[in-house]
Symmetry: C2
Subunit: 376 residues, 2 copies
């Protein structure tokens, strides 16, 4: 068994010794897991050690952690001894099975999958929006879906002042949300088209629109109006995540949310075209100010100088960029806007690490008294 990487005990500014944490990353080889490790090299969370966990297939391989390398260990029920914080991003079934063992071992889990998000015992948190929800945690905190998180950053500053009756959102989601293999496949599709003159309809496709679904379609030069599989109401799960997660995070079931989630040939960086109706008559310049002042949000809205958020500019950044803010041409309480964020950072890895930071700030990293999750 690998010895945890020792990072030393951090000191507070007052000179007294401060608790520092043993952190585990589950799914450390994935598109999100590697970025979780990256984000952990630049965090206010005091870290004592980092353990990289993945499936048996990856055990023994190395992953980068800053200038160092971690050796991947196989994830088992016993992986969490001595761990204080466990970040999960290895798929819903892995979280379903192993997150309760991490809690049982005394860790606090931040789970980036959808498995626990609608569980009433599990807070669903965007730290800038609803950090107070962390106070009631039972050992597992869920990180919302990427497409929901950035929408919350864009809309919360408006909601707090003007209220929010409804949201209609059409997404322009990056391939990276489907994982590193999907990005590789897309690049290979472009190479086939550009270098070998293969028709876009004829390139090889084995992953998108949804790994778990029957048919697979090319994404190069295409737009796929399916992310995740379909539910019984003809919306996809991705679309229903945006609906249900918004209500839970904003703690308001009366907000009407309907989404159309679309995958486009962008590698990293989700964009969203959002229409909202506020409760009070909105003032656009005030809304721009509110967004500019909101933590985690960056206003990029100066159409006279062609300034608006763009996916390629958001890559590698932790913020959510908001622009094209304008009144609906007819509805007096209607507003349109465009928001962009790095779906792998604020949409996943950074929001997860930020939840851990916030747990620490609020003194909430400790073993739970009562186990509320079933061990399978």
């Amino acid at each position: 068994m690998q010895r945890p990487l020792f990072l030393g005990v951090f000191s507070s500014k007052k000179g007294s010794k401060m608790k520092s944490y043993n952190v585990a990353v589950v799914g450390a080889t994935g598109a999100v897991g590697t970025r979780m490790l990256e984000q952990l090299t630049d965090t206010t969370l005091p870290i004592a050690s980092v353990k990289a966990l993945a499936s048996a297939r990856s055990a023994g391989k190395k992953v980068k952690f800053g200038n160092q390398e971690l050796i991947i260990e196989e994830l088992t029920e016993n992986s969490f001894e001595g761990i204080d914080v466990a970040l999960f991003s290895a798929g819903g079934s892995v979280s379903a099975k192993f997150a309760p063992y991490a809690v049982k071992a005394g860790a606090v889990v931040v789970d980036n999958t959808s498995y626990f998000r609608q569980n009433p015992n599990v807070p669903l948190v965007v730290p800038e929006v609803n950090p107070q929800a962390l106070d009631e945690h039972n050992g597992i905190i869920a990180c919302p879906n990427c497409s929901t998180i950035q929408m919350m950053i864009a809309l919360e500053p408006i909601r707090r002042v003007y209220g929010l009756n409804r949201i209609i959102v059409s997404t322009y989601q990056a391939i990276g949300g489907a994982g590193a293999r999907a990005m590789e496949e897309a690049e290979n599709q472009y190479r086939s088209i550009l270098n070998e003159c293969v028709a876009p309809t004829e390139v090889e496709a084995h992953i998108l629109p949804a790994g778990g679904d029957k048919k697979h379609y090319p994404i190069a030069y295409n737009a796929l109006p399916q992310i995740d599989v379909f539910t019984d109401n003809d919306y996809t799960y991705e679309e229903m995540k945006m609906t249900m997660e918004t209500k839970k995070i904003m703690e308001d079931d009366s907000i009407a949310v309907s989404a159309t989630c679309v995958r486009i040939p962008v590698l990293v960086g989700h964009s969203e075209s959002i229409y909202i109706e506020t409760k009070k008559e909105p003032n656009i310049s005030d809304i721009k100010r509110l967004i500019a002042e909101f933590p985690g949000a960056v206003l990029e809205d100066d159409v006279a100088h062609q300034i608006y958020p763009q996916a390629i500019n958001a890559v590698g950044k932790r913020e959510t960029f908001v622009g094209r803010i304008r009144k609906d041409l007819d509805a007096p309480f209607g507003i349109h806007l465009w928001c962009v964020s790095d779906n792998l950072l604020k949409g996943a890895a950074w929001n997860s690490v930020q939840i851990a930071e916030t747990l620490h700030q609020r003194g909430l990293i400790h073993p739970v008294e009562q186990m509320k999750f079933e061990l399978k």
Copy 2:
């Protein structure tokens, strides 16, 4: 001067001789112009000859017309002698100057630019939707904007039965709408990224988002929320075209339309995420039937089998494909749908040729009695 290509006099089924037309294509070397010539090889319009016109720069070059080649002639004020039908797609300023000369020479003009679209003397026509508007033409008929046309095909069958109060549309528009050079530039951007490891933010960009605007941004792996330049109300002209053209084509100023127009890295084939509110309570299975039966529309809506419209499948087709039709989760009269069409065919070349076919069917190809357009 090139002799018009003689194609013979067509005969009607009754054996009587039928009028056939001398057709001119203005802008014959462009992405749309070449497709106009292509569409003219498969049309019910009886054609006697075809003349290819373009700027002096292109004069003398050859363009394909079926198995034959046409020699490009320079467009001048005298190009339209003997021409019955002139299809224009060489930019608004070219139409502004030369379309009136074509009308003066006795031709009927079908103009694919935005220049005449809001002129009260000019019908704006999608043949499946408002062919009756042709009856009042004064020598110039405008072909609507690509993004408007396919939306009209998707929504007109619904409007006729259920009425239409409002439309909120977010587009996923192909690069081809900005012309052949924009498509070449996009392909070069992808080659730089994939073959030379240039960062997506660093590739060369000289055309998009709008040729006439100051700044230019990469489109490879990006989404640009700007098509055409911005107007005073913070909407782009492209967005305002969708608003104004919808009202004119549907002959109803009370329909509320707000658009967000976005360029995505697709070469050909516009997609649109459309939300509508009807006047009467909609029935989804009835709406699917209405769309399936509407001319020019193809229903592709079977989510259980992952059937929905995709840009790569629409390329080269004349129809508009509609799917993902479902009720809003909250608004009882709200419907969401997804529609896709080849923006260079139904969005431009085919709709223009189809207007000419419809003019012929209605006996409307003849010189105007009264000249209503200024000669410049």
